[in-house]
């Protein structure tokens, strides 16, 4: 019978941190400061780890805007046009029937259908796009420090720079520096 710790380690086997340094910091405020300093030092390959979302972290890390709204828009447009062509094909070409004396292609009565299918496509593509963009699809991600799921805060610097450089950038913010191989 494997222990709980072994099961947990087996589940989270995917190492996304493959090089550089993992630096622990004290709290969320220090993590924000650290992210700003690392970004200002011109390091592009870095990430932050915290047990909860932190306001302003996207700006501190200098993240670009997400592509998610465009994925939603394209999903919505696709759903709308696809359903118009589908209903149009059925009611005009494949099997034309007059419903309620209204003619063949009832735009007003079919519009709620177009609308709903548009919503469905848009929402499903949003969920799928979010999974893909945020990397939530890989459920076996392993945080570089296990405390990042409870009460630890860490910043990972991926560039190959000497440890003294890391100390110089972060100054007194760094509590513990671990190099990753």
């Amino acid at each position: 019978m494997p222990s709980f710790k072994e099961i947990k380690e087996g589940l989270f086997s995917y190492e996304e941190v493959d090089s550089g340094y993992v630096v622990r910091v004290k709290d969320a405020h220090d993590l924000l400061e650290a992210a700003k300093k690392v970004r200002d030092a011109g390091i592009n390959r870095f990430d932050t780890f915290a047990p909860f979302p932190i306001h302003g972290m996207s700006e501190a890390m200098g993240l670009k805007r997400s592509w998610l709204p465009f994925i939603t828009l394209i999903g919505g447009i696709t759903g709308f046009t696809a359903n118009i062509s589908y209903i149009g094909y059925i009611t005009l070409i494949d099997w034309p029937i007059i419903y309620g004396g209204k003619g063949f292609f009832n735009f007003p009565s079919m519009f709620p259908l177009f609308f709903e299918i548009m919503i469905l496509f848009a929402s499903l593509s949003t969920v799928g796009g979010f999974m893909a963009l945020s990397g939530m699809g890989s459920i076996n991600r392993k945080p570089p420090i296990s405390e990042a799921t409870s009460d630890g805060f860490a910043i990972w610097i991926g560039d190959t720079i000497p440890e003294s450089e890391v100390k110089k950038i972060l100054g007194s913010l760094a509590m513990e520096i671990r190099s990753v191989n």
Binding site: H55, G56, S58, E59, L63, R65, S66, P69, L73, G100, K102, P108, S109, F111, P112
Partner: protein
């Protein structure tokens, strides 16, 4: 006290707008009395919805205890002052213009019309006047009470006032829901007393909210342009833009719901409302309203960058405010379309009878294209009256509610990336 005064130049421009409005009204009455009365009703109703939207919007913020909107709140709260002017104008319409506008006010017509006889218990002149007074007493009274209460917090810094505002906001919203529904029925739906739909108040509510949010945005951005309201940043305006976008889409939803149900049921007593609005010149006017009110602002405001840019948001707000007035004109002027062609070409006797009912009573037609320079002048006049009154009231008090416990949270408000 942290007040702000707009430069005199801006106020002169607003007074100029009022002048254009008065001039258009005078020209309209001189050219065509019927068009003059209908235009005055549209003008007064447009002022009413602008004045109501502020109170409604700030009441929703009290009730939901929203924190982001605290710095935005003073302009919407002050819109209640406009209701006095709207009341004065609607009182003129309801006394001097009632014969031209409301068919049910003529005893001789009601005597020959069974449907109007059945409705006379509600649609009669004395009760109409009583209802107008009740509506405006409720809207103005509670709106002023909320404004005074909110202003009293500036001095006292008492957090209990926020709770009082919450409770009064609930009362306001409940009363508002009923009075607005009845007021729409009285002022607009009874222009065509043979026609009816339960969706009409919802449609008007959506139009009221869209127009109100866009005029608030116009005033806030105007003040910001001249250096006031520094507490409001792009994050707050982004949320106002979202409100505008959402209510505008809701407006399109109600338009579609109302017309689709009428189209589907295909009852002669309902379809003439749309048939006469889709005949001749009115087909262009209706298309202009539906495309201009919904599609243009929808694709304009869909981008995040538009909502965060002051110039683009100002453009979108002007478009929706203008189309809000077109919407009111569409509802009011549509009652006075010359419908005799529809009566002549009706396929069955029942359709002809319904078309005759849908036609305005003897001689009260509005000829020509329903939207011209006169209506544009009326729109500018309404914006001038609204801006002048609200900005004058705004200049007398603090720019932001300084005693609100949520003020710091509102100042720190920030949209996620």
């Amino acid at each position: 006290m942290n007040t702000f005064k707009l430069p005199q130049k801006m106020m002169t421009i607003l007074v100029g707008f009022i002048g254009i409005g008065v001039l258009s009204m005078a020209v309209s009455f001189l050219l065509d009395v019927q068009r003059g009365w209908a235009g005055l009703l549209a003008f007064a109703w447009y002022l009413t919805i602008m004045g109501l939207a502020g109170g409604f919007w700030s009441a929703t913020q009290y009730v939901t205890q929203a924190k982001w909107s605290v710095v935005v709140r003073r302009i919407p709260e002050n819109t209640v002052h406009v209701l006095l002017v709207a009341f004065a104008l609607l009182a003129v319409v309801a006394t001097l213009g009632i014969g031209n506008l409301y068919e049910w006010s003529h005893a001789d017509i009601v005597a020959h019309d069974v449907i109007l006889q059945k409705k006379a218990g509600y649609l009669n002149t004395p009760f109409f006047w009583v209802r107008i007074v009740i509506y405006f007493a409720a809207w103005y009274g509670i709106g002023m009470y909320l404004l005074k209460l909110s202003k009293s917090q500036d001095e006292s810094k008492d957090p209990h006032v926020s709770h009082q505002l919450l409770k009064s906001g609930i009362v306001y919203l409940t009363i508002f829901a009923f009075t607005f529904t009845f007021a729409v029925t009285d002022f607009l739906m009874s222009l065509e007393p043979h026609w009816f739909t339960a969706l009409y108040p919802m449609y008007n509510f959506a139009g009221m909210a869209t127009t109100g949010i866009s005029t608030m945005i116009i005033l806030i951005l105007l003040i910001k342009k001249y250096g006031g309201l520094k507490a409001i940043g792009p994050d707050h305006m982004h949320d106002m833009g979202k409100y505008l976008f959402a209510f505008n889409t809701f407006w399109a939803y109600t338009v579609f719901a109302m017309s689709m149900l009428t189209w589907f049921a295909n009852l002669p007593e309902e379809t003439y409302f749309y048939e006469k609005r889709f005949t001749g010149d009115w087909a262009y006017f209706t298309s202009f309203l539906w495309f201009g009110h919904f599609l243009v602002p929808f694709f304009y405001l869909i981008s995040r960058d538009t909502k965060r840019s002051e110039a683009h948001l100002m453009n979108a707000a002007w478009i929706t405010a203008f189309m809000g007035f077109v919407d009111v004109i569409w509802m009011v002027y549509g009652a006075f379309i010359d419908n005799t062609a529809n009566v002549a070409h009706a396929e069955t006797a029942a359709h002809a009878e319904q078309a005759a009912h849908a036609a305005p009573h003897a001689g009260h037609f509005i000829h020509g294209f329903p939207f011209g320079f006169i209506e544009i002048g009326l729109f500018l006049g309404a914006i001038g009256v609204f801006g002048f009154i609200v900005l004058r009231a705004f200049e007398k008090g603090n720019q932001v509610p300084e005693g609100d416990p949520g003020l710091q949270e509102s100042l720190d408000f920030h949209q996620p990336l």
